[in-house]
Structure formats: structure tokens, C-alpha cells
């Protein structure tokens, strides 16, 4: 499992991840993304999924949370397209909340390859960056495969 020293390798989040999140799952989540898998927590007692990471089930407070993989296809719950970026990042780009079949929302970039509207289906893909591999979504039309890879 993960030890405190693992945080040194954790680049997501500007390199600022501390031991709290190594223990409670930010690293588990991002390591999954690096392998092309989206991991969510699922309660061993009541079956509810949660995201972002919890220490115990948000529904029944059960302490036994498993990491389970979702197939990753979802629908756009909301989004915002950014035209004034921090740092030197080119614009525009779109960040949104994607509702997964497990009824949890993921916050991620949505590729601007078509008109982005609420309710459209999206599929995930995984992009290596200088900060680590990021999960992104693209519109499910245009022959994208469910896994997006």
C-alpha cells in the first residue's frame, strides 16, 4: 500500500499533496488515472459510490470503502468554458462536471471538438502531462469508443 514517502512522487495538484491525501485516496485515484482507469469508492455495507475521496461512506458512515473501476462513460451535468486563463495556458478550454452511471460527478476537462451542452454523452480519455496523467472527456459522438483510448 501507500507510505508517506509516496507523496514525493505525487505531482497532481501542483506538487502540494500532503500525507493526508496519500492516506485517504487522492493518490489512489490519480494512480488509477495514470493506468487509464477511473476508480471510485464504493461502500462495502450499503453499496453507495462516492467521489472525491471519503474516509467513511457518506451515506451510512460505514468504514469499509473499496476502490472500484467505472467504465467511465457519463453525461455532462454542467460546464464552463474559460476564456481568461491562469498562467500562460492557451484558451478556450472547457471544465465540467460529468455525471457517471454510479451517480457521482467527476470534475474534468471536456475536449472542445463539438458543441458542448448539458446532457450530452461523453467518454473518457487519458492525457500524459508534465503534472501527471489527466483524465479528460470528449463528446461520445463521432465514433469514439467507450474507453476512449
Amino acid at each position: 500500500m501507500y507510505r508517506l514517502g509516496d507523496m514525493i512522487d505525487m505531482k497532481i495538484g501542483g506538487g502540494s499533496i500532503g500525507p493526508y491525501d496519500v492516506v485517504t485516496g487522492a493518490k489512489v485515484y490519480w494512480d488509477g488515472i495514470a493506468e487509464g482507469r477511473i476508480l471510485l469508492q464504493r461502500c462495502n455495507d450499503c453499496g453507495r459510490h462516492s467521489h472525491p475521496r471519503q474516509e467513511a461512506c457518506e451515506n451510512c458512515f460505514g468504514p469499509r470503502l473499496d476502490w472500484v473501476e467505472t467504465n467511465g462513460s457519463g453525461t455532462i451535468y454542467s460546464f464552463s468554458t474559460i476564456y481568461r486563463a491562469p498562467r500562460q495556458r492557451p484558451v478556450p478550454y472547457t471544465l465540467g462536471l460529468v455525471m457517471m452511471p454510479e451517480q457521482v460527478c467527476l470534475f474534468a476537462e471536456i475536449e472542445m471538438t463539438g458543441e458542448i451542452t448539458i446532457g450530452k454523452a461523453v467518454t473518457p480519455f487519458f492525457v500524459p502531462t508534465e503534472r501527471g496523467t489527466l483524465l479528460k472527456f470528449r463528446l461520445a459522438s463521432a465514433g469514439n469508443t467507450p474507453n476512449g483510448l
Partner: protein
């Protein structure tokens, strides 16, 4: 429970407008808060030794004192028996009145000082970068380079979608707020002239659906304010401004986590982004006071984007659920509306004076009741409601003041 006996004994603000004049030195947060507090004490006709409690807000952006309250005590040489900073984001300044009122009603205090201030305009180089870093979840949102308007934008896009709001509807909000600010001598946009719908729609997109003219400008100046509360028997006869009730609700810290909120209140059947904590806070305040929204004469709301004004109006019950588009189209934000809203132009046009923006709007609401507002004055207003939000629509407090 309503507060039966808590009144405003005195209040004051202090301001330094930018740019500075020749030879003028920038004031500090503590300097301005000290000015406001000393004036408020003079108006209340008390001295520093009579203050039993001091409340303030989270660390200002201008002078990053972690313990702002201690600095205020040191400046004013007050030795209270109760003091703390209320840290639920921007909602905390209104919450501080609640804790003050509770102390007064339980006779743990006779005079309470609630103080606010921020000299951010003088001392912060890049408030935009500073703000975005604080608003996003460091591990699940920040890696994607969000900006603050894009985090609010998640709520905005969903609200516009669910309520059928048009570009014209959102522009109506900016136009109405500018008009009020033109009549207020201290508003940031006082000299900018009236806005048109077309100008708002032509302004550049910042983070959809919010354009530049849907966003609050930073206030070019440093502001502070102080309110002293006491029990009615401690002030002379004549009309007084009572703190009748304060309601509060806090729902989350970050947008992604907000989508895990369910199981009670308006989120009983599942999460949504279109009903805020103002829904519960507003009802709590009205229930405590034994009033309905129809009893309110003037409404102030501390929100930094155009879409939030209709969202909060709906949550507070100013119109039927889902009907806010019609409310806007029927002139609900006009000066002559039955309940005038943001009489100084609000954050959208009065400007965001860093962390003092909540105090600005609190004092505007109180001034409407005693007839001393500097801009629009609402004749005969007896009850004012002041709402503040903080975080990314995370914390909400609603106060009801009554003049009698």
C-alpha cells in the same frame, strides 16, 4: 427564536479611495478598522471599556493577519470576555451578528463590536490568481486550471439551463445594478455611465456563461466597517434598528464535493446546483422573525456574478420556484420594484472591496432603515433583509433588521 431586544447602537464605515492623492499614504486594514470602530463607539456613546465582545471575519487579503481580531483588540485596547473570527467565508460577517445577539440576549455581554475591513486594494498585486487558488479543490479541481468564475460557472450554466434564462435576462441584472451604482457616490462604477443590454452581451466571455460585465469588479479602494450591538434598554427612547433574526446554512467547500450533497432539505432526493443554502437560511430567518418574504421592504445580497442574483431571489422566495425568468422580465430589479434589491449596486457595480464587501452591504441595508443611505433611498422602509454568500456558493447567512 427571534431576537427580541437586540439593537444597533452605532455603526460607521471608513474608506480610502484609490488612486491616492499626492503625498497620501495607503492606509492599512487595522488603521481603517480602528477608524470605523472608534466612530461607531462615539455614535453609540460608549467607550472601549464597555465592549464585552469583539467579532470579526477571516484573515483579510490586504494584511494577512491570521488572528485579525487580536490585532483589532491591540489597536483599540479592548479586553473583551468573548472574541473570535467567524470563518465560514463571506457569510461569516453576518454570522458574527448572530453570535453577538446571542451573547446580548443571554446577558453575557452588554455591548458587542462586529468589525470588518480589508486594505486589499492597496496591498494585493494579483487578487485574481490569489482567489482562484483558494476556491478550487487542490487535488481534484486545481489540476485542470479552473478560474474562480469557472467554478461558479458550473452553478451558472446549470441554472441558466434549468430556468431557461437568456443572454438578455442575465444582461438585465448587470444593467439594473449599474444604474443603482451611478447614484451612489462611493460605488466603484459611479463614473462609468449607464449600461445597455447590448453592451453586456458584447462584453468578452470570461467563463461561460459569465461575461466580463456579469462579474463583480474589484473595488479600487480600501474599506472597513464597524457595528456595535446592544440591548434596547441600553439606548435612549425613539426609533431603533433591531436585529430581528439571522438564518444560516452551509452546504459544502468545493464544487465537486457539493455534488455529493443529498438526503435533506432541498437536496432530499439528490444533489443539484440550482438550490443554494440561501433557501434554508432565508426560511430560517423568516420563521424566527415570524415574517414572510412579503414583509420585507428592501433586500441586499452579497453575490459576485449576475446569475446569482436571480438564483438567490428565487431561493429567498421572492418569486415562485422556477419562475425567476418572468420575475426579471417584469422589472423585478428596477428601482421602482416593490422590493428594491441591492440599493447601492451590490458587488456587481458597487464593487468587491475584498473581504469588506459583506460589511458594505450590511451597512447599506441598515442605512435604508434609518434614512441615511448615500445613494437610492427607499422611503418608508421598515424591514431590510441582507443575505451574504461565501466560498463557491457554499455558506449563506440571512439577517433581518427592523426599524421600530
Amino acid at each position: 427564536m427571534a431576537f427580541e431586544n437586540v439593537v444597533v447602537a452605532g455603526y460607521a464605515s471608513a474608506v480610502q479611495i484609490m488612486p491616492l492623492g499626492d503625498g497620501e499614504r495607503p492606509r492599512t486594514t487595522i488603521g481603517l478598522i480602528g477608524d470605523a470602530a472608534r466612530r461607531a463607539m462615539a455614535i453609540a456613546a460608549i467607550d472601549r471599556r464597555q465592549i464585552d465582545a469583539v467579532f470579526t471575519h477571516r484573515p483579510p487579503l490586504g494584511d494577512s493577519f491570521l488572528l485579525l481580531g487580536q490585532k483589532i483588540l491591540a489597536e483599540l485596547k479592548i479586553a473583551p470576555t468573548s472574541t473570535t473570527a467567524i470563518m465560514n467565508h463571506g457569510a461569516g460577517m453576518i454570522s458574527s451578528l448572530k453570535y453577538g445577539a446571542l451573547l446580548l440576549e443571554s446577558r453575557l455581554a452588554d455591548y458587542v463590536l462586529c468589525a470588518s475591513g480589508d486594505a486589499g486594494a492597496a496591498w494585493v498585486d494579483d487578487p485574481v490568481a490569489l482567489n482562484a487558488n483558494a476556491e478550487a479543490d487542490a487535488h481534484f479541481e486545481a489540476p485542470y486550471d479552473p478560474i474562480t468564475p469557472s467554478l461558479y460557472g458550473q452553478f451558472a450554466q446549470r441554472f441558466v439551463y434549468e430556468r431557461g434564462l437568456t443572454e438578455e435576462d442575465l444582461a438585465t441584472v448587470s444593467v439594473a445594478m449599474r444604474a443603482k451604482a451611478l447614484r451612489h457616490p462611493e460605488a466603484e462604477m459611479r463614473n462609468k455611465g449607464p449600461l445597455t443590454i447590448d453592451q453586456v452581451i458584447a462584453s468578452p466571455m470570461i467563463a461561460s456563461p459569465s461575461r466580463l460585465l456579469h462579474c463583480a469588479p474589484w473595488y479600487r479602494g480600501s474599506r472597513a466597517g464597524a457595528i456595535i450591538l446592544t440591548r434596547a434598554e441600553n439606548v435612549g427612547p425613539g426609533p431603533k434598528t433591531y436585529v430581528r433574526a439571522i438564518g444560516e446554512n452551509v452546504t459544502h467547500e468545493h464544487v465537486t464535493g457539493r455534488m455529493g450533497l443529498y438526503g435533506f432539505g432541498p437536496w432530499k432526493d439528490g444533489p443539484n446546483l440550482t438550490t443554494t443554502g440561501a433557501y434554508l437560511a432565508g426560511r430560517q430567518a423568516l420563521n424566527f422573525a415570524g415574517l414572510s418574504i412579503d414583509d420585507i421592504d428592501v433586500l441586499e445580497t452579497v453575490v459576485p456574478f449576475a446569475f446569482l442574483i436571480p438564483m438567490i431571489l428565487e431561493d429567498l422566495g421572492m418569486c415562485e420556484r422556477g419562475e425567476v425568468a418572468g420575475y426579471l422580465r417584469q422589472g423585478g430589479l428596477d428601482r421602482a420594484a416593490r422590493v428594491p434589491i441591492n440599493t447601492n449596486g451590490g458587488m456587481l457595480s458597487f464593487g468587491q472591496s475584498f473581504l469588506n464587501c459583506v460589511m458594505d452591504q450590511l451597512l447599506e441595508g441598515i442605512q435604508q432603515l434609518d434614512g441615511t443611505a448615500l445613494g437610492d433611498r427607499i422611503a418608508g422602509a421598515n424591514r431590510a433583509m441582507v443575505h451574504s454568500h461565501g466560498g463557491v456558493i457554499a455558506a449563506h447567512t440571512v439577517a433581518i433588521f427592523e426599524r421600530s
